[in-house]
């Protein structure tokens, strides 16, 4: 049975696509057959972050409208053989995704995949609702910042009332992923802490991804940041996925980095 995970947030620019790419890659690295779908119709981005933009021939909407088969549209990742990307269309209107069509595609994927990751567009309208409707679980991507936390709470409300599982009397399992976290600023009292955000949203914490230069570098190169295991963000994503799969990994990168002796002497 495939598990459908939506990566969602309400607010835009918080790290959903970065997270979708990292989580899908980390699952595939562990041997799970994984598909990652870009639901952001009109603002295709996931293919860039995955580094497969030049291999896009057909897209999600083509498959929904039955202009192409799923196999024609799925792009196999160049690094991980059991990872596939289903890109969004760049041009069509946002309402091109209909519930019936989305269901057909997900059902077909579910026959052969272990995990289906749905990268949601921003907002709480049609596109975001399509991305979350069939989800079994949700990763709520939140930045430690008032508008992001507020929007996350809205999207949690929608998951709890408008998803298929909610409609059928069940629940979507929620995971909080706090991203772009800056421990120095938290320590100075300038940024909400992990604890603050956990208290407000009241859903279980999956992980904390630090604000990291490695993320921009990864997106420049089209290589999901989890491949960069030297980097703090890469390690934090790997931890989060390990935790998701039931491993017991302590949270890291929550405290201010102590300056090393050399840095203290020579500055930096």
């Amino acid at each position: 049975m495939a598990k459908i995970i939506v990566v969602t947030s309400g607010k835009g620019g918080v790290g959903k696509t970065t997270t979708s790419a990292a989580v899908a890659s980390a699952l595939a690295m562990r041997g799970f057959k994984t598909a990652v779908i870009d639901f952001d119709v009109g603002l295709r981005n996931l293919d860039l972050i995955m580094g497969c933009e030049r291999r896009v021939v057909y897209d999600f909407v083509n498959v929904i409208q039955q202009d192409a088969t799923l196999n024609q549209a799925l792009i196999r990742d160049k690094r991980l053989e059991n990872l596939y990307v289903l890109p969004a269309s760049q041009t069509r209107d946002k309402d091109a995704l209909d519930q019936e069509g989305v269901k057909r595609v997900l059902d077909e994927l579910a026959e052969t995949f272990d995990y289906i990751i749905c990268d949601s567009p921003a907002g709480i309208e049609h596109g975001a609702q399509m991305a979350l409707y069939f989800a079994d679980e949700a990763i709520i991507v939140t930045n430690p910042e008032v508008s992001s936390v507020r929007d996350s709470d809205r999207i949690i409300g929608i998951l709890q009332s408008k998803s298929r599982r909610a409609r059928e009397g069940g629940t979507v399992k929620e995971h909080l992923l706090l991203t772009r976290y800056n421990p120095e600023r938290v320590e100075r009292g300038e940024m909400l802490s992990v604890k603050d955000v956990e208290e407000i949203l009241a859903i279980p914490l999956l992980g904390v991804i630090p604000e990291s230069e490695a993320v921009l570098k990864a997106s420049n190169q089209g290589v999901p940041v989890v491949h960069d295991q030297e980097s703090d963000a890469g390690q934090a994503y790997d931890d989060a996925v390990a935790r998701y799969l039931g491993e017991d990994r302590p949270h890291r990168f929550l405290d201010k980095q102590k300056k090393s002796f050399l840095k203290r002497v020579f500055g930096g």
Binding site: E145, V146, V149, R150, D153, R154, G157, S161, V186, R188, G189, E190, M191, L192, S193, D196, E199, I200, L201
Partner: protein
């Protein structure tokens, strides 16, 4: 206190301010999005009634709905102005 001190102090506590604002805001959002439709009007009506007797601000009446199993509890918090000595 200099202007710089003011900004510095302000910045130091800004996370705490953010948290407090969020706490109120999120409770309010949840109520509006998941609570019964009559709640906003109820809140306005209560505000009107209290204003017949004392002057209070728009945010001095806080309505909260808590679900406990089968029953819902409507909680009403009214902040009255300081009493003049």
């Amino acid at each position: 206190m200099s202007l710089m001190d003011f900004f510095r102090r302000d910045q130091k506590n800004s996370a705490a301010i953010a948290k407090e604002r969020l706490r109120v805001l999120v409770a309010h959002d949840r109520l509006r999005n998941n609570g019964p439709d009559y709640l906003p009007q109820l809140q306005r009506d209560i505000l009107e009634v209290i204003r017949k007797y004392v002057e209070i601000g728009d945010d001095d009446v806080v309505v909260n709905l808590e679900n406990q199993g089968q029953t819902s509890i409507l909680e009403l918090n009214v902040t009255l102005p300081d009493q003049k000595p």
